[in-house]
Subunit: 394 residues, 2 copies
């Protein structure tokens, strides 16, 4: 009774989401404190108090017809101006409101930009490991995902492979830094070299290859690590942002799409994006949360708490003999499985440890452990991890 595309998609449904649902069932059965659910990137840190205060203040004091009403499909101009101002202060740029579209999260922004750019059969290149939901977003518009295998030594993108993968059908390259699932930050050197490849290929084929930078983890970088500003390396960069992680608002679906005036066809893309957002049924980003985000552009989540979680988990697991990528950003630990991945994931589940298989990120032989949980969950999970380590002979 459903379309062929949806039949395929229900058969290959998200492992992460299935695990999230399973975790809720297990919590109901065994008690939440006895289930170690590391499956979903659902922040355990409350939004900054300023978010709640801003929302209440807006509800109390601003005109409710403005706060809850329609605005331009691109979002309130003053909100876009506030976002542009924050970017300009931080990155030395000069963005204006016309370069921004407020979106229903980064996932909404990605769908908008893919609808704007892709003709059926166009290719989008991604670097494994990556969030495989991108495949679905790309397929929504008839696009084809071209996956570059992981460089498991550095988890930086393999640019030699990119050079070979870009063809006249390549419309865009999609990156995500700080990276889900590895926590790796793409370095300035990597980005400069990546830009070089894309400039050469764009010139060779006589059409721009756009760089899409999915940045929900931009503000989550540890030890003072710098997350390079991708558009400063390559003019044809579009940025998809979300406040899901930085302000702990994943359920609210609020983010933006940056389409710099430096893009080839900038004006056409900016105009088409507002229409695409409307046509796809988003219409506009949720209005109250747009206004909250504008007031909180310079607020930060409790990064120190995530850093403590990272240390707890990384130190605990490596002490047990597990081998992990040391994450410079985001809130994921990517751990090598000491045996066949699916055997290991199933074994972990018996210890009520919910870990997402690396094959869900096109990188088998690993698991992703989301440490946006309470430190107590990490501490209590260590006995289960210890039992697991012993079982597999570490």
């Amino acid at each position: 009774m459903i379309s062929e595309a949806m039949q395929r998609m229900t058969e290959n449904n998200s492992v992460i989401r299935a695990m999230f649902e399973e975790g809720k069932q297990m919590a109901a059965r065994y008690g939440a404190e006895n289930v170690y659910d590391f499956s979903l990137g659902n922040p355990n840190i409350a939004p900054p108090a300023a978010v709640t205060e801003a929302a209440i203040d807006i509800l109390r004091h601003e005109d409710p017809m403005l706060v809850h009403g329609y605005m331009s499909n691109a979002g309130y101009e003053e909100v876009r101006r506030a976002v542009a101002g924050s970017l300009n202060r931080r990155f030395g740029t000069a963005y204006g409101p016309q370069e921004l579209l407020m979106t229903v999260g980064a996932a909404g922004g990605l769908n908008v930009v893919l609808k704007v750019l892709l003709n059926s059969g166009d290719e989008v290149v991604v670097f494994a490991p990556y969030f495989v939901e991108y495949n679905n977003y790309i397929a929504n518009y008839g696009g084809v995902t071209v996956v570059i295998p992981p460089d498991t030594a550095s988890f930086q993108p393999d640019l030699a492979a990119l050079e070979r993968a870009v063809t006249p059908r390549t419309r865009a390259v999609l990156i995500n830094t700080p990276n889900n699932p590895t926590g790796v930050i793409y370095s300035a050197e990597t980005l400069a070299a990546l830009a070089g490849v894309l400039r050469r290929k764009s010139a060779e084929f006589g059409a721009p290859v756009y760089l899409l930078s999915d940045e929900p983890y931009r503000e989550l970088a540890y030890d003072g690590a710098e997350v390079p500003w991708v558009p400063s390396f390559y003019d044809n960069t579009l940025v998809c942002y979300s406040w899901s992680k930085s302000l702990s608002l994943p359920g609210e679906r609020i983010g933006y799409l940056l389409m710099p005036d430096s893009l080839d066809g900038a004006e056409q893309i900016q105009q088409a994006a507002a229409i695409a957002g409307r046509i796809l049924g988003f219409v506009n980003a949720p209005s109250l949360m747009q206004r909250v985000a504008a007031r909180c552009v310079d607020e930060q989540t409790d990064l120190a708490a995530y850093a403590r979680n990272r240390a707890l988990l990384y130190d605990g697991l490596t002490a047990l003999g597990f081998s992990c990528v040391y994450p410079a950003g985001a809130f994921y630990l990517f751990m090598k499985t000491p045996e066949d991945e699916s055997t290991f994931v199933a074994r972990a589940k018996k210890h009520r440890l919910l870990l997402v298989p690396g094959s869900s990120f096109a990188c088998p032989g690993y698991v992703r452990i989301a440490y946006c949980v309470s430190p107590d969950t990490i501490r209590r999970s260590m006995a289960a991890f210890r039992a697991l380590a012993e079982e597999v002979g570490l």
Copy 2:
């Protein structure tokens, strides 16, 4: 630089949205009080106080990680239970939470259901006059819109024409009652006869023809008029609802999709809809507003105020000699143009009257006048309408 589909769509961009933007520019130039913008269905009545109070109470007293966090893609189960409970009380039904998906407005719900149902080339039948944005929603999934010409005598759907229009390629019929742009409520007799046609055709072709009921105006019916509950006429009905109009929250993008267990393939459709919502980038309906809607399921907008607007406008315009459909619901007046439609719309604009041409609803020779404005706007606009009437010789 943009896809071929988006090129077509930017060329044929929404007349309504273009007019909304133009209205804002005219207001900046001439002063808001000197522009009579009847273009957009943007409620002028503030949300009930209970909405603001519910939002503030939730923000103050509920766990912020629950309020702003991820939940199942279908929405919070307790929210869906509250919505089901309200429907059950009002319509004598027995819906459960599994039959509901919380959506990013009705537009989001329509996109989800069309993604779930349509294979490329499938047909969706609509009755003119109708919201032509449906064409774009349908085209998003490769569907083809089949338009049944208006019955300008009654503005009820032409069922004889439907009988001829349904083919083995017909996947769904999409209706909207109370109707945008006419304000007509489809009668119980119409719906019973419509169901009869669909049952016959489903049997004849051996596959269900689904009925999609887009109901953002459900609660806006005047003079105690009853809006029949569409699923009670036809088992294969899906309902797309939004609180945009009933709680004056169009910017918040909050609604639901009802997929009754009585549907052919109900379970498959319910499961696919949650996945489709995720894949399209909605992920879930905005979380705070889900919780607000659950607390406010039985709240109502100030219907009496819209009824007064309706009387002011209908009486005023008919007294000037204009011919209008008397609206039983929604907040639109559909008025016959006394001359060529586009000439009339341009002439009205010179009087700073922004009216949407009927051809934007596949029904030329009319204009839509949205009366979800302040009564003062209607009163002050009457001089402009009078001048217009005189110019065209009424």
